[in-house]
Symmetry: C2
């Protein structure tokens, strides 16, 4: 690499290290406990879009590499009230997704979950942390932002909210890209329909077919930042929702066994560290936000 | 779980969260940059003892689940001078190792590496961090230590050192267990012979057959804490060492390609977070130090 390129990469990595630091500090201030990531398990997030399976035989049992720690977060709340984890996720996305500039087949998300919380409470928590993060990066990484020629604006809370159906009607199928491009502060996308999400996102009892969940969308065209919401936790509801998705209890038998013993109401979200780094640093593509980027379809160290 | 058991587990997890916090803070104070973990790669630590392979096909290429990030740490030093990472490792240990009380088939290690450093420098770094950690846990987790009925002693630096050959002659084959049991402060085991380690540990030019490396051993019978040392970084030396181990360049071809482009001199170590938690909390077995313990040979969530 040339000197200028190395200086740029160093700045990105210093900012990413600072992002991890500030997010951890802010959550600890709010009494969150950091738990360890889970890499292999018989249960993992089924996701709502097709990824190739990443499975391994461990002592005669089939394990998946974690796609997200959603089920483990629910289980952790049996012991702790507020948890977070820097969780590496592997998602073997279709090769074509390398063109989006937003997908890696391995990345880390800051995943958190709060017992007895509502969607609105974790949205406010997210806004508070996000604002503190931007303030802190502007202050502590001033030199690095200059190297990257990046100017950051501290957003005001509450962030703007737009309902999925309204967004779809107003902007059509590519509404997410459009919403991202026309705004200069993060925007919440809320009330996502059941068919677009996984069975564990809680259905709104007052609006069947609509979920108590949300995405955060970055401004300036950087696209989706995070996904989250309230969770289904009652065994009968989980069963119903699995069937509504055309899935079977057998597919999730190890989770079902645990869910039968009782889960607890909660809300949470997961925010991708590389996407956050890309946004904060103003990078063209997500591979620039990683020291060892895993580009879909390519052989990567 | 009964109330008392839950209270104990909560205390362990709060202490583990504090361990992560303090280790990160201490390293940042010393200008370390936190990098992201790597989970899948065509290259990973071969280790010096047999583990079952954990491999996955990604887009037609064979990837291993990380056994340790040693090679990625060496590569990272091309861009950064001092790095650390909370790195999840998967090591499919023989089932019998569940009996040791010290082995999990998935765990996290704090892995760090310093450009141009000597073994003695990273040993002193480790002592400083370790002492700060114990002080901090005694102060911040006083309540949790009481629940666990654990009394901790702040060790004095420098820690005692013993050479591998001397230890072997004095205590016989099980010297590590014996050294651990008869001491009440951590002890360094140094100058480990070439045959007991991997090819990437640097051979002492003044003592052929002996490595510039070390293990730290916990007192009170808790056994091995960490491994580390200086690294081989010159291409010709790497080739020689691979052949000395009876391994082939073909086995490590993706690493060899990168090593040919030039690696840099460095030293570092990796310390297991669950073993550290076990020691600090005074737990009987390592599964008590994890929310989702992966016990060799068992099916674990």
């Amino acid at each position: 690499m040339k000197t200028k390129q190395i200086e740029k990469k160093k700045s990105v990595l210093r900012i990413q290290s600072e992002i991890r630091k500030v997010l951890g500090e802010e959550l600890r201030k709010k009494d969150f406990i950091e738990i360890s990531p889970v890499i292999l398990s018989p249960i993992t997030d089924p996701l709502n879009h097709p990824t190739a399976p990443a499975r391994i035989d461990c002592y005669g049992n089939e394990y998946s590499v974690t796609q997200s720690m959603i089920f483990h977060k629910q289980l952790a709340l049996r012991t702790l009230d507020k948890i977070f984890v820097f969780s590496p996720n592997v998602r073997l996305e279709p090769s074509g997704r390398k063109e989006t500039g937003r997908h890696l087949f391995e990345f880390t998300q800051l995943d958190l979950e709060v017992k007895d919380a509502t969607r609105e409470q974790v949205m406010e928590l997210c806004e508070d942390i996000f604002i503190e993060l931007i303030k802190s990066i502007k202050k502590e990484c001033d030199k690095e932002l200059k190297v990257l020629d990046r100017k950051l604006k501290v957003p005001k809370k509450p962030f703007k909210k737009i309902k999925y159906e309204e967004a779809y009607q107003k902007y059509g199928e590519r509404f997410e890209d459009i919403i991202s491009k026309i705004h200069d502060e993060p925007i919440w996308l809320i009330d996502i329909p059941l068919k677009s999400r996984e069975f564990y996102d809680k259905e709104d009892p007052e609006h069947p077919g609509i979920l108590r969940d949300m995405d955060l969308i970055y401004p300036e065209g950087y696209g989706e930042a995070l996904s989250g919401g309230e969770r289904e936790y009652e065994f009968e509801r989980i069963k119903t929702r699995i069937h509504k998705k055309g899935q079977t209890l057998e597919q999730f038998k190890d989770y079902i066994k645990l869910a039968k013993n009782g889960l607890l109401p909660s809300a949470g979200f997961g925010i991708g560290i590389e996407r956050l780094t890309r946004y904060i640093c103003g990078l063209k593509t997500i591979d620039e936000a990683s020291l060892f980027p895993k580009i879909p379809g390519k052989k990567c160290i």
